[in-house]
Amino acid sequence: MIHFNDVTKIYNSNVKAIENMNFTVEEGELVIMLGPSGCGKTTLLRMVNQLESITKGDIMLNGKSVWHSNKIEMRRNIGYVIQSNGLFPNMNIEDNAMIVPNLLGWDRKKMRDRFNMLMELVGLNPDEYRKRYPHELSGGQQQRVGVARALAADPPVMLMDEPFGALDPIIRTHLQEEFLQIQKELKKTILFVSHDIDEAVKMADKIALLKGGKMMQYAEPARMLNKPANSFVAEFVGQDRVLKSMSLYTVRDLANALTLKPVIESPDSQNINENLSLRVAISKILNQEADQLIVENDNGTRKGSITLDLIEQFLHREIKESV
């Protein structure tokens, strides 16, 4: 758990970078801090592991105040991933990934097992990469190693500063999805900085939207998209916020909330899996690929069909409900 208690940061005795920040990242939650550049999101993140000092207030990490923690010891208990991956060019991949366990004095066998396990987790072959050097890897591979390094000593808390920001869109999407899978398994408490609203909507349990060092809104993605707290939030999340919010739901959510229409056999229909995101489903209809989408579960059993007006009905309901 990360708890921000009235955190303030003042530069040069008068420039307020962060003003009275109060919020909590609950255990096992992934919170994404969003905002325009200069809003203080990275500063706030770096205040957690004390790379930036705190002027006033307190940050509690699993109940312990950062003011009373040993900086070095505390940082070794926090996974830290940065945009440029920050791998050490002079060390091979295994030494890079195992730097924190090494500092903590783990034995060789334990480190080797941990390395193998983590590399499998991030989707790289441990033996193939063990002795290679960072510059021999692609950007995506380097960032996977960066994630493995952050997870090495199994820290309860992770800080991620635009971890996928420097990657091309295809690799970025891959890594986002893989990381979500990893997070489902490991349930770390994660504070994550991003400037990409789509990334935040896709990955976050909650989004913290900052502007000028102040919190604009702290809410679940659906709530932020459907009920923006003020005009700045509404503008930041975009005019297409309803469309964005659809990627938060699957066809199954719709099927559970509303009664599906009966299947009418017609050439203009297409079969879709119920795990498909609603955003993709509506795109299919809008793309004129089909007028009617037939929903199937994993066994291939047909559950009914959806049409444009059914989706519309569902959205009305969700937007109203999230008030």
């Binding site: 505390m74 940065i82 920050g86 050490f88 002079n90």
Partner: protein, 224 residues
């Protein structure tokens, strides 16, 4: 005047018949410069590291080292004489080594300082964020990545010192300068040339040797 052909023949003859004589002078030269460089590294590298953490000290230290460099070598040797005469060491090896150490400081300090400052800030940030202490960061991350540039400074200093070391013979420090100096006194062109060639060859070999060492000490991932 002798023709070019004669000169080469004379030169070869000189090298063959005075082989042990030249080797002795070369060995003296290596000892003089080698000792000076080792002392210069022991002083210069830590100073360079210190400069990289203390910006105020950096400008002062680099300033002083630059001034050392601007003093003509002959003058610097000259200054050593009255100063060290106070402890009866006015001429000989000691003043020569001190002068050579002072000369080597600028390239060694400046390169160490620049090399550490040039380590990618993101890498330094990652090292801090992961929980390395300042000393661990220096040993595990900054120095290994700074190695090529630090070694380049040492190489520059060594080659420079081999040249300047040839003048040290004037204050009685021995070395290959002795052959050149004797050649000048006797107006023996062959001897002058032989001494000059020996100094140049020694500088080339030293540079090559230090490149090998650099290769040995540079981590695999840092080599381009």
């Amino acid at each position: 005047m002798c023709s070019g052909g004669d000169l080469i023949v004379n030169l070869i003859e000189y090298f063959v018949s005075n082989f042990t004589f030249i080797l002795g002078y070369t060995w003296d030269h290596i000892k003089l410069v080698g000792l000076a460089i080792i002392i210069a590294i022991v002083i210069g590298v830590p100073l360079g590291i210190y400069c990289s953490v203390n910006k105020y000290a950096a400008s002062t230290i680099l300033q002083i080292a630059s001034i050392m460099m601007t003093i003509p070598s002959l003058a610097l040797f000259g200054i050593m004489i009255p100063v060290l005469s106070l402890i009866n060491e006015g001429i000989g090896t000691l003043p020569a080594i001190i002068a050579l150490v002072l000369y080597s400081q600028l390239p060694i300090i400046r390169n160490t300082y620049t090399a550490i400052n040039n380590v990618d800030p993101d890498i330094r940030d990652a090292a801090n964020g992961i929980g390395l202490t300042t000393f661990q960061r220096l040993i595990k991350v900054e120095l290994p990545n700074a190695m090529p540039l630090i070694m380049a400074g040492i190489r520059t200093a060594t080659v420079l010192n081999i040249g300047v070391g040839a003048i040290a013979t004037l204050i009685g420090a021995g070395g290959l300068g002795g052959i050149i100096y004797q050649g000048i006194l006797r107006t023996n062109n062959t001897m002058i040339l032989a001494g000059a060639i020996a100094v140049a060859v020694l500088a080339l070999i030293a540079d090559l040797f230090l490149r090998l060492i650099e290769n040995l000490f540079t981590p695999k991932g840092v080599k381009k």
